[in-house]
Amino acid sequence: MGQQVTVIAGNTMPAVKLQELNPEQVAESHERADLARRSLYYMALMREVEERIERRLYRQGKVVGGVYVGRGQEAIPVGSGLAARPSDMLFPSHRDLALYFIRGVAPRQVFAQYMGRAGGLTRGRDGNMHMGDLDRKLVAIISAMAASIPVAAGAAMAIKYQGRDDVAWVWFGDGATSRGDWHEGINLATVRKAPLVLICNNNQYAYSTPLSKQMACRNVADRAPGYGMPSVIVDGNDVLAVHDAAVKAAAHARAGLGPYLIECKTFRMTGHSAHDPADYVPKHLFEEWSELCPIRRMEKRILDQGWGSSAEIEEIHARIRRETDEAIEWAQNSPYPDASELLDGVYGS
């Protein structure tokens, strides 16, 4: 029945010992090396862009509203995003910035978005991670947690309706799992056997609320059998582990077998948003998890496996810094939209 919960990398809750993947999953192919370097690039780009937003632009008062970053969680959008096809439909959540870069959104558009400029993806109408682009098959979240899940279920149903073998991917946090929409959307998708891949970033907090106050089960994946769907628990700070799980999940969905849940164990290495000092998080958790930084782990692995040199890695970071500098420059020069646009586009006709 495929309803078993497969645990790839141990149970990481609340604090974890992570193990490396098994050897065949890290076969040293050229493809693998390439994937590794691309993963590193996107993770580091996400980190850098978010650092600039949260620790510079926000503190300089240049960001219009709130800031939510995915520090420490970059492996999740990157590993899964690189497993998606361009024709797949993506429904990111608010800590999945890398998905936008993978889909070709430029960092400058993101900076402009945060600063409310006309050059942002929502042209100043909405803020921060509330951005989408239908041409790139990137769907903007609304604030209400888990609201994307029924919508993604509908996209997956449409894919099936159209007889294509694409997949709809939806990302969400541990807290989002408590919402009615989470349940309704997954239930509908599983009943319809729609090609939906569900990716939970279980970062063990929802704002100030720890998992123990969010759910009475041990793992989000424990819910999968209740929907007759398979699931996997994966080390969310290991980008290749996430990637491999995502490839498997997508293959399942594309084969017409219905939804598949991936639970990525990770940790939010920041406050809920830029204004939150996260005093409620025991310090040792930050320390333990900082050892598991997905970027540093990937770098080490690249070196260990001979997938790249220190110089190549340094060049990746240097390139990102250049790109980011330019992007901020561009975004700061992007004008605000004109007030005369206020009334446009509420309706199409």
């Binding site: 239908l134 604030s143 899940i149 919508v151 279920a153 509908g154 449409a158 159209q162 929409d181």
Partner: protein
Amino acid sequence: MPSTYVEAIREGIREEMERDANVFLLGEDIGIYGGAFKVTAGMLEQFGERRVVDTPISESAIVGAAIGASFMGLRPVAEIQFADFISCGFDQIVNYAAKCRYRWNAPAPIVVRAPCGGGIHGGPFHSQQNEAWFTHTPGLKVVLPATARDAKGLIKSAIRDNDPVIFFEHKALYRRVKDELPEGEYTVPIGKANVFREGKHISVITYSAMVHVAAEAAGRMEKEGVSVEIIDLRTLTPLDEETILASVRKTSKAIVLHEANLTGGFGGEIAARITEKAFEDLDGPVLRLAAPDTPVPYCPPLEEAYLPNADKLVEKLRWLARY
């Protein structure tokens, strides 16, 4: 042969499904059962399970899935079994569907059909007329046909519309009103009111089942020498202010009539617009007739006392005529 309101809607949906392979239906019990009110009877047989999707009891997922499918180029027509349950899918409608075009230029061309209204002894949870929640939400179009002819023409327009349309079908009309439908293809535009009956002395601005209440009252007033004009709004948002104001400028007196309870109902909006924009033309206060501010009660004497009817309207018309 005249068609009933329910047949007209069914015909409209069927024609659109035949015309456009992207149109599909989803909702509870709409397949083999044909829907609680049989609006979709025969659809499963004609279009198959792919295009007629029975869903679990999940109003939020029904609306959400419709939105998601619309992003993929489909034209979903979702049925909420009773308008009373639309509150279970409320967030998806008012926050997701209504705002995605404005926010990031992502149209959500969905239709949410919801059988509404009282007079069928449904009690507090099978009688609601709750359009006012949606008329306050920019980005939604809110349509409530009163006749079979309009019902068919408007459901077709709703399906073709590029914005989310909340389509309220009045349950008490399904089998009670009939029209000889035009031969061949026709649509009725969203956003255009209809002068249902011309008159000279008082304008009654109304919509949905209350159009027929107004017609009855107008007939009675005619015998008293008072000529009543009836404006059937058909669409509440976007509102056809022009037709309303033209009528009131002509008659100089207006009553707004709706079945929903008074306070916070759409009648306030109409009365306010008339007063603001036709103040100089008014020869009397704009009155409202609506249900009282209670849930819809179940038993006949209470429900009768609750619902606006021709007697109550005649009383207001007489008062205003004398003003």
